[in-house]
Amino acid sequence: MKSPLFGKFEEPEDDEHWLGPIQRLKTPMRRFAPGDEVDIVIVGVGSAGGVLLQRLARAGFRVVGIEAGPFWDTERDWVSDEAGSHQLYWNDLRITGGAHPLAFGANNSGRGVGGGSVHWAAFTPRFHPSDFRVYSEDGVGADWPISYQDLKPYYELLEREMPVAGPAYFPWGDPHGYPYGPHPLGGPAEALVKGCTALGIPVCQGGPVAINSGSHGDRPHCIYRGFCIQGCKVGAKQSTLISHVPDAIEYGAEIRANSMVARVNLGKDGLVTGVTYFDEDGHEQEQRAKVVIVSGYAIETPRLLLNSACNGFEQGLANSSGVVGKYLMAQAGNVVMGRFDDPVRMYKYPPANALTEEFYETDPRRGFARGFAIQTVGPLPIAFAKQMMVAKGAWGWGMRAVMMDYNHWAALGLLGEILPWEDNRVELAEETDRYGLRVAKSTFNLHDNDQKMIAYGVNKVEEVLRAAGATEVVQEPRYAHLIGGARMGNDPSTSVVDGFCRSHDIPNLFVCDGSVFPTQGSANPGLTIQALAARTADYLIAEREAILTRQPRSMRGVEAGAPPIHYDLSPHGTSGRGVPRLKSRTPTPEIGLGGLPVGSKG
């Protein structure tokens, strides 16, 4: 074959900033003058920060996002290569401990504009209605101060903005459909579908995943090259970098990349005044703002609050409860691998390709609370070799031999709900980073319910692979995603922020990212993080006057009910048609804080 089917490839011109092969950053970015006070500063332009920035800029706020990592040009900075994608992850030092220490970096932590959404596999299941009432229903974990119905309109919005590809009918939780059609199946998905079908387990094919199955505006559809978690150069997989950030910039947001926030500053009146950060030349700068939103995810958010300790908040900013850093969670992410006689070639097609949530809810017969999902994963060779090192104890000639069989293996992942425990936490270590800031130290221990769930779940995934025809099945223990560390709740003595992500202690300080989740379900958190960001933006928009007139104490509390939902703030060309079973664009009537979720299990 002498040339690609569709002709010669374009190379970037000097003055172009590419966000995928078609989309260009069109407008020069606004620059606020040094010393300017802005309305809102967002710390971290990741999954939550990108959506917040876009919504708030469109609504007319003067808003700055400060991001520790680079502002990626997808064509120049990213590669179609496993080892070459190391810089996408948060690789700065963190100390990890406890009986079951968590791995960070490539496993769960992003750095750079787009944050974790740059390297997520992009599975986008919604949380189930029961996820918001875990304590009420099962007597474990915690309840959320908001219900599924509060987030539902934002799920619907984000599923179109991303957009999500999946089946027309998704049967679990609150059943719904997706705007773009499901993807064809790769090898691991074929195995999951075949195994589940043989066992009578319902299974969902080709999504839900935030990867284009048809072209969408200036973003092409997927080309099935399988490098999703290495950063999608194709622009088919959603990251806030390509879905929301261009719109934010067009509407006047500024992003300061390669800038590390050192602390959030508190004024004498008990309000935050802005942040101090190190700019890309390493110089200390201050950005004043009327509102500060911390969106640094489950490790960096608590770290920043703890590093911002000051008079009046000696244990960490907004930490009168002592809960900052606590109730850290990760999902059980055991990778179960099966060898098949016929080639599987799991490096092709998105790793996020099929799933079942049939075991998601509590089943008393299983002997533990809550449950798990089973999903496809598609490790590339280096990741697979590391998995085989653990799963089979492989090294030396054994490693070479099993790797020669790489194309015969299919990998499935458990995604299990580990409950929130107070002793699982983020603290500050004595060691400091290159800015002189104390690094985070995490402690993680599995509890009895977690271990029972993992044992049962791994066994179930092994059963599925055998039913699909695997002749050998092995597994690697692992954890996926990070959640918690600054949880939301109604009680200021046991939570950090309220149902609008506003800190109980400081009326103009918000935390909005995965760290505020009180529980994590068995659903990948990315969609819920972005949906929660859109809802938080709607709250801030509703309180615009209080913010702009510096009266944050007069911002309404959760008792005032949900803010109006803005259906007119989506990025260009993403609102409107294409969602089955989404009858209208008006808010669903059931919305209300503390309202019972509709459609939850009995």
Partner: protein
């Protein structure tokens, strides 16, 4: 081939015949990811080609450490079945990572920094070689070298107590193996060996489980590791490995 070399080579399990070194071991004869490089994007092309053509000077390890590390890595990822021209550098990329202070974003609380762990590990390996065979690791036969390393794999190193008080043996083992496989399986020669398609942007794939027109069908052959090899048997890692969870990306 002299006898010393043939001892290191895999064999045909049916005939017992030695399999001579190949330019490309594995079941995909004629497959070449590098032959597809004109279809790769410029940034990827640069990263992969630099990996293939640029040998890194050793900066982190001392010359003695580098020699020992070469011998250790030659057992963690043996390449005796590859001809000299097609061997994949392992110590160079590891040294480059350690010299530039690149880490995976975390350190276990019971481990020293990666570079120090590697240096301590080499000292421990030497101590185990002396303990078991009263001979430096570099002078041991490949089978004896494997038996030295296997004690760390099993989590029961019989020497180097002082070092193992400073770091966990199972975690050191995983650090060592991970660094070796990360170097080996990042190389296009290894992709050809295992039938992995390599870079695929902007062209992509269209055929799921089937080979693309430029890929090849698998053609298996029988081989087994040399008789002395203990690494050819799959045995669980040492006690406590279940709490170690390297949890690499590559999943959801």
């Amino acid at each position: 081939m002299d006898n010393a070399n043939t001892d290191l080579l895999p064999r045909n399990p049916t005939t017992g015949e030695v399999l001579p070194p190949r330019a490309q071991p594995g079941y995909y004869p004629g497959y070449s990811t590098l032959s597809q490089q004109r279809f790769w994007d410029a940034a990827t092309h640069e990263v992969v080609l630099r990996r293939v053509h640029q040998a890194q000077p050793i900066r982190f390890f001392t010359p003695d450490e580098a020699r020992l590390m070469e011998a250790v890595c030659a057992r963690i990822i043996p390449q005796d079945d590859r001809d000299e021209a097609h061997r994949i550098p392992i110590v160079g990329p590891i040294d480059e990572r350690l010299a530039s202070g690149r880490i995976d974003g975390y350190r276990y609380e019971d481990m020293p920094p990666d570079g120090e762990a590697h240096k301590l590990g080499l000292q421990a390996i030497e101590a185990i070689a002396q303990h078991l065979f009263h001979t430096p690791f570099l002078q041991l036969g490949a089978g004896q070298q494997e038996r030295v390393l296997k004690t760390i794999h099993d989590g029961e190193p019989p020497a180097g107590e002082g070092i193992w008080r400073r770091m966990s043996a199972p975690r050191y083992w995983m650090l060592l193996v991970q660094d070796c496989v990360a170097a080996y399986y990042a190389h296009p020669y290894a992709w050809d060996e295992i039938g992995f398609g390599g870079p695929a942007y902007p062209r992509g794939y269209m055929r799921g489980g089937q080979p693309e027109p430029w890929e090849v069908e698998e053609r298996r052959y029988e081989w087994e590791a040399p008789e002395w090899a203990v690494s050819s048997e799959y045995e669980p890692l040492g006690r406590g490995h279940e709490t170690i969870t390297p949890g690499q990306g590559g999943s959801h």
